[in-house]
């Protein structure tokens, strides 16, 4: 090539700022930079989540003695939780009810999110805001609203009676598992619509055209392209609803009655009227493990199914 050399560019009189050691250290390592950006959140998270969790975990090995604790570690609480059927039954019921509520919410919200993502072309944000409008009121108010709707002399019963479909009010509407499921499915809808909308909105329209071009009608196209590509949204929506609803205690307390009580109610009672904090802690840990297990199975299953459809 050429034997040309670049002239020395160092101009006299211009002082170059030397980077400090910390700055060069931060610029050198991407991981370190990432961590330092994360650190405020990380610090907050570790104090506010890990610490209470640690306390809960430690406490679950204690025994209550009057108003004090016997701090010798023991597995008695766990043994009791396994042996007394009430705990298992309540846990199973909670998981089942919030499972049904989760499936119902995702199935009901998917068409809404789909509609806004694919068929609304202007003011999409307004549609999303309108859909989340009911969630601007407090959770408690929404639960009470459902109490009014489902009640013995509530909206549904009075309407059905005045039309003449039924003669006596339907009693199963309120204070039942179905009441809790209906309320949960509505109360958490916003948490399903948003992730579903985001994942559907992200799908490249030319992929749908390509599927059509390659011979798929609307149904096959949905099953082979739209659904698999929106699976991340379905998974996150499901988890976002399933996890908090399993431990919910407000809705079952207000609408569930004796049949609709969930594990959250029991945990709350352990820390409240029953005053057995170690047992409450044990149940919380068991609930957490159960949820973690189910979520892991769910995620693996969806990934497997996704592989199979495609």
């Amino acid at each position: 090539m050429s034997d040309q050399t670049l002239p020395e560019t160092e101009a006299p009189g211009i002082r170059q700022a030397r980077p400090g050691r910390l700055t060069s250290l931060l610029h050198g390592s991407e991981t370190l930079r990432g961590l330092s950006l994360l650190s405020p959140t990380l610090l907050f998270m570790s104090i506010m989540i890990l610490l209470p969790f640690a306390i809960l975990l430690v406490m679950s090995f204690w025994t209550p003695v009057g108003f004090e604790f016997d701090t010798t570690p023991t597995l008695n609480n766990y043994r009791e939780a396994m042996e007394r059927p009430i705990y298992g039954a309540l846990l199973e019921r909670s998981l089942r009810m919030s499972g049904i509520a989760t499936v119902a919410t995702v199935i009901l919200c998917y068409p809404m999110a789909y509609y806004v993502a694919f068929h609304v072309h202007r003011n999409k944000m307004m549609w999303i805001v309108l859909m989340t409008l009911p969630f601007w009121t407090s959770y408690l108010l929404r639960v009470f609203a459902w109490k009014v709707v489902l009640g013995y002399e509530g909206v549904i019963n009075s309407a059905l009676i005045s039309v003449g479909v039924i003669e006596k009010p339907l009693e199963f509407l309120l204070y039942s598992q179905s009441a809790v499921i209906i309320t949960l499915a509505h109360a958490w809808a916003a948490f399903a619509i948003l992730p579903l909308y985001v994942s559907l909105e992200k799908i490249d329209r030319s992929l749908l055209e390509a599927a059509t071009d390659l011979g798929d009608g609307p149904v096959m196209r949905f099953l082979r392209v739209t659904l698999p590509l929106s699976l991340p949204g379905v998974i996150s929506a499901s988890l976002l609803i399933f996890i908090p609803t399993t431990g919910d205690y407000i809705t079952p307390a207000l609408l569930g009655g004796p049949d609709g009580a969930m594990i959250g109610n029991l945990i709350q009672k352990q820390f409240g009227p029953i005053n057995d904090w170690p047992m409450g802690a044990t149940l919380s840990i068991i609930l957490m493990l159960a949820i973690a297990f189910i979520c892991a199975v769910f995620i693996l299953l969806t990934l497997f199914v996704r592989k199979r459809i495609s």
């Binding site: 055209e209 390509a210 390659l214």
Partner: protein, 365 residues
């Protein structure tokens, strides 16, 4: 052409609200032809292609493919397949499943399907790529997968929407050759949309130059380049020198014009009628002009000017010559052969020469 036209676009209109995207376009495309729609963005070429695919419905007119009217045929039932501008490779599928996507309807055995895909991978020179995921592919590879995915269905027509636009220059030129070879191998009619005139000239059997929803000229590549019908086509394809002129005499196959800067010159009439006194434009390609230092013997087809500017481009040089009576200098392109009389360092008076056959007369329609 009408009798054996494979694709027949008849008086097709398309409105988007008040915007007329396609204005009464009629095109006939033959079987096995490599046909290009060429134009700048917004000229309607992509809209026309999407109407062939069925993604847009014509507002008026009818499209026939292989004799069948297409207006009631939904896109997934049409005998056409498309290669999309961004390739539209399914990100959740691997290469094999992408290519086999459209085979579902044919209910083939697992083995047969596998063989077809392998055959396709051979054809696009990507054997052994079946298990790769879409995000592990380069632009050129994605482009080939998109081609294979469409070709495996043996469509009657393959539609290509600027498929080479996203590739870098070298890869694009390589893909152009491969695409042309592929089209000859499979013998399928290709309809190709591009804004790149060089690409259209290289690939196509025939080209429709479009502007504002209408076809300006439909011709072979050399026809478009050598004898453009109007100024828009002439300036869109290659570079061109234009001279305002007036017809001063019509003489059978020749027309005599009085052109600004060139004087009274002759040009071939090319089967068109001219009226004496009619305003026209004269066009001459830069490479059809020749520069000499001395006056040539035949003074009828040369004019003196002064060399204003020159640029050396490696294989060729560009010269800009100022002529009396013209504001714009005339561009001349010359191959850098040994013994060229005029170098890029030359200045001063030069002679501009051309042959009568290279003069094109453009009417102002």
């Amino acid at each position: 052409m009408t009798e054996d036209a494979f694709i027949s676009i008849r008086k097709v209109d398309k409105h988007f609200g008040k915007v007329q995207a396609i204005d009464s376009v009629s095109i006939e495309i033959g079987h096995g032809e490599f046909f290009s729609l060429l134009g700048s963005s917004g000229c309607g070429k992509t809209t026309l292609l999407r109407m062939l695919a069925g993604f847009e419905a014509p507002t008026g007119g009818e499209i026939f493919i292989d004799g069948q009217p297409m207006s009631d045929v939904p896109p997934h039932m049409r005998p056409v397949n498309m290669v999309f501008q961004n390739y539209a490779i399914f990100p959740h599928l691997n290469v094999r499943d992408n290519i086999a996507y459209g085979l579902r309807k044919q209910r083939l055995s697992r083995n047969r399907r596998h063989d077809l895909v392998e055959e396709m991978l051979e054809l696009i020179k990507l054997p052994g790529f079946g298990d790769r995921r879409a995000n592990e592919l380069s632009g050129g590879q994605r482009q080939r997968i998109a081609l294979a995915r469409a070709l495996i269905l043996r469509p009657k027509v393959l539609l290509l929407d600027e498929p080479l636009g996203a590739l870098d220059k070298q890869l694009r030129e390589q893909m152009q050759l491969e695409l042309r070879a592929l089209q000859r191998t499979v013998g399928i009619t290709f309809v190709f949309v591009t804004h790149d005139q060089e690409e259209a000239l290289t690939l196509s059997d025939r080209i429709a130059v479009m502007s504002q929803g209408r076809v300006l000229q439909l011709d072979t590549p050399s026809g478009l380049y050598e004898t453009p019908h109007n100024r828009e086509v002439a300036s869109f394809i290659g570079t061109m020198n234009f001279f305002d002129a007036k017809v001063s005499g019509v003489n059978g196959a020749r027309v005599e014009v009085e052109a600004a800067g060139l004087g009274r010159i002759n040009a071939p009439a090319r089967d068109r009628r001219y009226v004496e006194g009619e305003s026209v434009q004269i066009a001459i390609r830069p490479e059809k002009l020749e520069l000499t230092a001395d006056a040539p013997l035949d003074s009828g087809i040369s004019v003196q000017g002064s060399l204003e500017n020159a640029a050396y481009l490696g294989e060729r040089s560009h010269f800009f010559v100022k002529l009396d009576g013209l504001d714009q200098p005339v561009a001349v392109s010359a191959q850098n052969r040994e013994g060229a009389t005029i170098g890029t360092d030359a200045t001063g008076p030069v002679w501009l020469n051309w042959s009568e056959a290279s003069v094109v007369v453009l009417t102002s329609d």
